[in-house]
């Protein structure tokens, strides 16, 4: 396999590191350019001693102009706003781009409402929303993929079979998500100081998290229905993992077995979705470090409700793994290249 030259912009965060972890073992990719604004000039293995022996290249300052012309694949792990500004400058090059930030995930109206003015509205239509399990055909023809948010990935994959088949009241969906702390990034703040987080659990941004409209738009686009969710994220004292517990009202009574069959069938071609047997509910620890989304569920026939439990590693299927999966599609690699990493346990 000829290796394609790749750049990772924003390489000093947790998502950046996880990209490097996956890409160093990817047979089709050569990591050729890294940026990290705060650490420019340092070697990546100085910032991440983990990388020592794998990758010893210098971190460059951010800036489209410094990206070498021969770069073919670009991963952006940058704050929203910053990301779109770079995409704008390199979009015309002969590159494939996966943006792990929020800039191209939403329609312009929704973006403006939740994030403010968009730095590059003209490219929104060009970007494919990057959940292959619901949008593979569109991704195949794109050169820019908007990698999804971590919470949305777990919620959308947990709900897709139900909304696609119009089985639930799309106005009465509750998504209660629990996330490890790496989802909050690597910038120090009191909120994520060890002793503030350890040995505690809390809800935050109740009804106000920017991933709520992303879940709604993506599922509405996918199903053709107008999907609304009540979304509450929680912070859990662990490094990695998201578990979303999803409560739905079924349009008609279904048994647990019925629904499990539906999910099995819906995802039967999907390498990275695994359905748990009846009465078994997945733990985040069974996907840690891997690209899987594991799903378990229970239906309550007496009152037409169901509870779906969906787990991912927020840094892999919720970020870097999905990005590599999307890039594999963009670049013409087999979709699972570099992603056949079994979970780390414990």
């Amino acid at each position: 396999m000829r290796k394609k030259r790749a750049a990772v912009l924003g390489a000093s965060g947790y998502t950046g590191y996880d990209l490097l972890r996956i890409l160093t073992a990817h047979p089709g990719v050569e990591i050729s350019h890294l940026t990290a604004e705060k650490h420019a000039g340092r070697d990546i293995s100085d910032v991440f001693p983990q990388m020592s022996g794998f990758l010893d290249i210098e971190l460059m300052p951010l800036g489209a102009e410094s990206i070498p012309d021969d770069i073919e694949l670009v991963f952006l792990a940058l704050p929203h706003g910053t990301s779109a500004a770079v995409v704008k400058e390199i979009y015309e090059r002969d590159v494939k781009i996966v943006d792990l930030g929020a800039d191209f995930r939403l329609s312009l109206d929704t973006y403006t409402k939740w994030y403010g003015e968009h730095p590059c509205p003209e490219l929104i239509e060009q970007a494919a929303y990057g959940i292959p399990e619901i949008n593979r055909d569109r991704i195949k023809t794109a050169k820019l993929v908007a990698n999804p948010g971590c919470y949305p990935t777990s919620a959308i994959l947990g709900l897709a079979p139900l909304v696609k088949n119009a089985l639930i009241d799309t106005d009465a969906i509750v998504v209660d998500s629990k996330s490890g702390v790496s989802g909050a990034g690597r910038s120090p703040s009191l909120d994520y100081h060890f002793c503030e987080v350890n040995e505690g659990v809390k809800a935050y941004k109740v009804g106000e998290h920017r991933h709520m409209p992303e879940i709604e738009e993506a599922l509405s686009n996918y199903s053709g229905q107008d999907v609304k969710v009540s979304f509450t994220p929680h912070l859990i004292p662990m490094d990695r993992g998201i578990l979303s517990t999803i409560y739905v009202k079924l349009n008609e009574a279904k048994s647990t077995g019925d629904l499990l069959g539906l999910y099995e069938n819906h995802y039967k071609e999907e390498r990275y979705i695994r359905i748990s047997p009846e009465k078994v509910y997945p733990s985040t620890s069974q996907v840690r470090g891997s690209n899987f989304c594991d799903i378990g569920l229970r239906a309550e026939q007496s009152n037409n409700t169901a509870v779906i439990v969906s787990v991912i590693d927020n840094l892999v299927k919720g970020a870097s793994g999905a990005a590599v999966q999307n890039m594999n599609i963009l670049a013409g690699f087999d979709e699972s290249t570099g992603l056949e990493i079994p979970p780390v346990f414990p």
Copy 2:
């Protein structure tokens, strides 16, 4: 204050220890009799070196006959079934009893359905359900209190103002609870082995947990309505604490401020309920080691929903602290005696 002689049956578990932690500093209580089936014959400070210097008495085998006649207060921290059998034998004595187990929390029908045959049905009617904030008058006249379950305490206190005032659809309540591991007790099993729990989160007993009917019965009794909940407990990698996120459908639109005002007013005389300001949601770490239940909430006027977040320390307000609060009422002490322990943080 004359000290009353107290027995703690089942002193070698986490709940047992937490009772000892509180009672050793209680000015009205002298701990005189401890049992622990597995550790009978050992000194309590050998089983719990924590207690060394506070309490140095021998653990006795379980058995009503061995309880000295001069014991005035009895706390039972025993498995269900076992507990009722002991209560049956000592009920006629001149004692006040708080049973921290499940035996007297439910009506006979509900108990039979969820736990099986009841070992002492004749006393069910005598027992007062022990959440003072919703049942204080009944507790005052009882000699036996059924201390509530940990999950029910957090759910019931989070819902009481709404159901009492008939503000919500009692058929569409979702309770999503997250618990620390001490709630599962101190008996070793693979499920609670360190590496199985650490760095992971999972749901369990979805729609099947025995605390679900307890929540429903207690709230139905309190409100006069038929309350149904969808209850999903989760295990979180921390020692102590329960956070319940509660999703309700309001009968009519309310602002967050309206609801906060309602909660403030409803609980204005309650020492152990604290309401968080608007946009602030409590963390379990703000009640750790203390008897408080802290509550925050958010209403969504656009669709008549609300999210309530309720936190307790499962071993204190969810078990031992509530037991002492109940015993204070039974024994005629001031209700807060021995409970003015500020949270431990971090």
Copy 3:
């Protein structure tokens, strides 16, 4: 008991909070004045919702001039340097002072070498080093106590019986300490960001930590010998607790029983020292939240060595608890007033 009016300067850190936790339940103290530079103007129960219902006073800016004249007891939980500057201004008042910082722990020479110029050298001689177990008589006559460092407390109490009785080679002592993260304070930085600390252990400031000279000076003063230690601190993924493992060379062979007897005897009057039985080594979790130092040990007769394991809660016996113990001595309260708090477990 008449309550004495107390000030806590630096109330918004972990040590500050732990002082409040202990002092709110102290029958001889009324907390009357709090400062917190960064949070001045906010209510303490806003900064620490834990305190809600216990203490509702406003945080004031730091500054000796703002301390009310009627304050009788002053606790300083401030950075070194800052602390001495305040002490200088209030020392002549009719107050008792416990400084939890480093400014008065060392001789002038040692301070200058490890910290730089001293802001108030004239008071160094007035300050008593605040480990009552080795310096009670001196504390009794002081008005200013230098509360010891957390690591030094665990190391010194673990070594005191040996050095006092000249039983070991004072040139070959190794102190390997493991600390929870609260010891690093509450200021956000990448080093103490949740994901950087969790699931890892590391050594830091090997041979260069400022607590090393403190251990050496305090033990030298106590024993009349010139004590040298090799000190290596480690950061452990937990909130509270220090465990020091101490390796010594005995001048002559001793059995474990001999040494345990020596320790038992040396500390027989000490409320807050507990000696573990032979073959039992204490865990930090058996002192959590309490003022105890628990010690276990093993001697190796074949080669005249011994290993001593000493555990404390770094925020209690290693900071706030010791401060209250010292203040009790200064203020004429019974030494254990407010400190009879059993450990929290789990």
Copy 4:
């Protein structure tokens, strides 16, 4: 590369799982036979849902007779004693064997003293001690490798350059090790129950751990000197990782730079040893999930001492990774085959 057929005996523990994690991605190995006494008859992906999609074969009961004749590579992750009994029965087959247990790590005398009667003394001499970095030539010619203990790996690699070059007093070595909980295995017991371990640190088996004689023998054999260590293991609240802090007395004064140079040179051909720069000490989190041993150190010229800090992932370089490295040598694969897995962080 033709795949060789491999068996993993004892596949349901943490070490077993980590072997599967590594071997499923190993291009030269096909996992063909798994045993797990307690779970015989279940599918491996039922016991470890992590493996679902990678490996779906049935677990067999232990027993040499059931091992298919065409198995070429055998990994034993069994309790000591059990392991040797199986090796005895299969040794004459045309197989290469890596025993991850303790049975063949020690001389007969030492084994007998620390473990009791040896079940297969005749093969002790045939087994090569499996730390390639100190014993590669011997491993190359063996058919049975005794995979080293986790603590010994970290201690031996941290000390090898010093003892080989006769730079230290081999009678005054202190090894203070801190281990994550996975090192204790997967059998439930109160000692490793979540709440007993979490938020605490403790020493155990002080001066009595069976890894102490292993460290001594291996280093004595390697250096030709009689090496003695004082070894104290500690349990840390994390899943994976060992950090050993090693205190030595140098025969003559060395600078930190001198020693770092010595280590760099000693290990310059070793893929899985990384030396940290001066003043940098490795965290276990920089090797998590990988086969590296990272080493940092500091020399103190004033008193001829040095402190060496050595970190590994106890399940990888301390167990399964080392086993694959050894098997690669035995089977003629490139030594790093399947082991080029970057650390997982956070």
